[in-house]
Each structure stands twice: as C-alpha cells, then as structure tokens.
C-alpha cells in the first residue's frame, strides 16, 4: 500500500462499533473509484492522536461525540500539526456543531452516511485546503481539556488539570506543570478567554490555575502591587501586578 502514492490513508474514529463497521463497508465501496487504505480505527480523540503520532494519515473520519476526548478537541490539536491530515467530521445529530460548521465552512457528513457523499468528501480532500485552526476554534463550544505541544511532528498532550500557570514570553506561551515546562504557540488572551473558569490573570503576562494557588505573600521588592502568588507543588512566587491586585482579595 505504501508504494501507491495515490492511495489515501484513512483513519476511522467513532466510539460505536456498528458505526465503525458501517464506515468500513462504505469505504470498501469507495475503493474502486478512490484508492484508499484504512490505516487504523480509534474509539476516542486521544486514540486518534496516538495513531497520528505513529502513522502517516491523510484523512481522518472524525465523529464529534466521543468519550474521553471528543472530535472537536481532537481536531483542534490536529490542526496545530505541521502537516495535518484532512478532517471530515461525522455526526448523527448535533444542531450546535452543524450550525458552527456551516458558519465556519467546515466539512461534515451526516450519519447515516451515503456512499456518494463520502466519496465526494474524500475527493474534495485532495484539492481543498486543510481546515484552519481558527475556524475550528471558532466552531468549538467547549474549552479543550488538554493543551497540545507539537514536537518533531508528534503531538504531546498536557492535561489542563496539570497546568499550574501560563506565562507569555515573546512569541510563545510557557505552560508550567509540576514536572516541566512546555512551549505552545497560542496567545495568552485567547487562552484566557477559553479557560476563564479555571485560570485567573495575576499579571499582564501570566495566568494562574485557580487550583494551583497555594496563597499570597507580601513581596514588596519584585512586585509592583507588593504581593506575589505562591504556586502549589513548586513553591514558585509570581508577581501580582497592581492592576490585578483585586485577585489577592478575592482569594483571601
């Protein structure tokens, strides 16, 4: 199969076994007019990313509603890859997602899927540009549960629950967990917007996880407000700006 350059390598992602079986049947029918190979199957978004880290994939048929990590979040991580596969969303019924896809010009297929539609969508993936990260972000209605770091073509997931703080540094944002630091190419403002429930801004360049706040300390030298936030687990002290001084009161 690898020898055939025109052969599209496809990954099926759906949590329901009968739905995966149905897609296999349909793809078999497409094979004659559209050379393809089924690389693997995944039952949730996390498995999708695992497969992508292992194999070269051209097209992901991605169900939206899946446990662990849904299709929307998986797609947002995929879109950050250097050479991402094309994504075709599949859904039985999801008014919100469908509306969002229409608005942001993202392709999707409605279950039960017809073989003609599937074929048309597959053919389109050859010519059409890949769906953009921005379009996916705009279409999503739930915050991600992970941040993704892209290192040497691999996707590394950092569970949001492990993140202690996010700090903007030049063009990157540093993601700090107890074990280590990662760099992500996202803007602090958009991260603040997406994770408003879990993080609080303590400084122009810093968001701290609400659960990671051990306490506040007076620290007149380094901080303009005279306060620093103490991080749980690492004991680091980050300055609180004068403008964000109200956060100190809010947590005391």
């Amino acid at each position: 199969m690898l020898a055939d350059k025109d052969c599209a390598r496809i990954l099926i992602a759906d949590d329901e076994a009968p739905a995966r079986a149905r897609l296999r049947d349909l793809l078999d029918e497409c094979r004659e007019s559209f050379p393809l190979a089924i690389v693997d199957e995944a039952r949730n978004g996390r498995e999708v990313l695992d497969v992508l880290n292992r194999e070269k994939v051209d097209v992901v048929l991605l169900d939206i509603r899946m446990p662990e990590m849904d299709g929307m979040e998986a797609a947002r991580h995929i879109a950050g890859m250097e050479d991402p596969p094309a994504i075709i969303f599949t859904t039985a019924f999801d008014t919100y997602a469908i509306k969002a896809f229409e608005v942001n010009a993202i392709d999707y297929l409605l279950k039960p899927i017809r073989v003609e539609r599937l074929l048309a969508a597959l053919s389109k993936t050859r010519a059409a540009p890949k769906v953009s990260r921005e379009a996916l972000d705009a279409a999503a209605n739930l915050p991600r549960r992970h941040l993704s770091v892209h290192e040497r073509g691999k996707i590394i997931l950092v569970p949001l629950a492990d993140v202690l703080y996010l700090r903007a540094e030049l063009k990157y944002v540093t993601v700090r967990t107890v074990e280590r630091e990662h760099l992500v190419e996202e803007s602090l403002t958009s991260l603040e917007e997406e994770f408003a429930d879990a993080f609080v801004r303590v400084h122009r360049n810093c968001l701290v996880a609400r659960t990671a706040i051990a306490g506040f300390e007076r620290n007149a030298e380094e901080s303009e407000s005279g306060w620093a936030v103490v991080i749980k687990g690492t004991g680091e002290k980050l300055p609180v700006s004068r403008r964000q001084h109200h956060v100190v009161k809010q947590f005391r």
Binding site: E16, P18, N44, L110, K111
Partner: protein
Amino acid sequence: MASINQTGAGIRLPNFCNVGVMLRSLVLVNVLIAAAAVIRAPSVREIWFEFLLFAAFGEPVLILSLVVLCLARRWLHAIGYVGAIALLTAFELAVTWVLYEVSRQFDFELRPMTFGQVTFLVFFVTAVTLAYFDLRARALSPAVAEARIQALQARIRPHFLYNSINAVLSLIRSEPRRAERALEDLADLFRVLMSDNRTLAPLANEVDLARQYLALEELRLGERLRVTWRTGTMPADAMVPPLILQPLVENAVYHGIEPIEAGGEIEIDVSLAGAQLVMELRNPYSGSGKHMGGNKMATENIRERLQLHFDAEASMRSEVRDGHYHVTIRMPYITASS
C-alpha cells in the same frame, strides 16, 4: 362561546379523592371565610368570633361536600359537569338549611344574617372553588403538556434515531436477523412516541418500552451498556403516565454511559411500597455539565406530567450521590379498575 361550553363539555371535576385537591379546597375555602370575617367584623377583636361563626356553617358544608365529591366521583363524572354541579349545589343547600334550622333551635344565631345571605355565601364560595380548579386544569391542560412533550421529543430523539438507524445499517449485511429485530423495536418505540399519550397506560407497557429502547442502545454501545432490572415487586397492572420511564432511561444512557469510555451500569428498580409505586434509576455520573439542557427539560416535563395526573401525591427527586445520579419517582398505585 356559549354554544361551545353550554353543556360543560370539556370541563371536568377534579379528582376530589386526591389529597392535593382536598388540601387546595380546604385552604381556599378557609381563606374566603377569613376574608368574609374580616369584612364583617365591626372591630379587629371580633374578627376571630366572626370567623368561628362562618366556620360553624362553612366547615360542615365543605367537609361533607368533599366527602360526597370523592365517594360519588364516578357517578358524578358520568352525569356530566353541569349536572354534577347542580346536584352538588342542591346538596349544599340542603346541608345549609339543616344547619341553619339546627342553629336556630339552639339559639345560636348568626348575627343579622338571613338564610338567603348564608345560601349566597355557600354558593359563592362553591363557585369560586370550582372556577379555581377549572382555571388550574386549563393552565395544566394536556394541550400545554403535549406541546412540551413534542418539544422534548424534537430535542432529544434525533440523536438516538439517526444513531440507531446507522447501527441497523451496519448490521444489514452481516447480521440481517439482528437488523430485523432492531427495526421492529424501533417501530414499536416510535408507535408509542407518536401516539396519544394523554391518558394513563399500564406500567407493563412502559417497562417493555424501556426494555426495547435499551435493546436498541445495546446494539450501538455493546458491552459499554450494562443494565440491571429489579422488578420483583412491580405491580404490572399499575397505571402510569406514558413515557415516564423511557425518557429517564434515555437520559441515563446519554449522560451516564456514552461519555464514559468503559461505559457503566444502569440500575432500574420498580417496586410497590405500601400504596405507592416507586421507580428508581441509578447511573454513573460523569460530572461534565455537557448537554445538561436536554436533561433538565426531560425531567421538568416528567415532573409536570406527574403533577397533572396526581397533583401532590406524586413526587420526583434527583440527586448526585457517591458518583452516581439517582432519580426517584413516587406516585400512587392505581389500577385501571380503581
């Protein structure tokens, strides 16, 4: 207008054997009596005295009326609303007259109040009470409830319908017999969903429906869905509002099983506790607030229909306990013949 409601068709007496209806009647009548006492009392100190005087007439009439309305319920229902009210007022008039005569024998007089005035008061209170129940029935009318049911179905059903059809399609080539069965279950389910669901239906049907629904979900979810039924003391002949169990089971699958990779267990207990029918549902709680809108709508809809059918005698409670979502419904055990 007059021609539409002349015979009182469409208006029905509420079920006066229901504790909720009785309580509402007692409260309303006593409030009216208290209001009359306040108006009639020459001074604040005499309000209590006036209230007792009115109550001496009002309470016997009220309680006897309620007893008659409850005992003769079937019979009154058969002769129609207008006839029933005519008989009721005649009965009340008789009771009032007896009380009036008895009170005169004992020199216990209502201060300047004629028999006519007492009669007027009795009729007035009766009219207000009946009008209240009529208005209440209209506000909670099946038409309103039905509109909500339909809205509810439109909200949740499609996800399940299309996924089920998709699952059946996948079976047609490999397991045609299972596909046939699944389509039969689907047809049965939709026959009930689309039928007139305003009157009570046997519990056995409701349980069968939930089982068929779960059989379809098992097709999709396979081993992720595990169901335990406990129906040992279930009275199969109990009459329940239709589609009371199935939407709850659907919620349990949608919110409790589907979001969890390994799936989980749904436990359903249907039992008889004294004169009460108790339904209990338990499913894993995944904690995410996703899609809670549909969930709330289904439970509100069921709560409303329970109230419509049983007033204060039915209840529904839901809570999260030990990582599980529990729903408990209690309603009176009634049969088709009771």
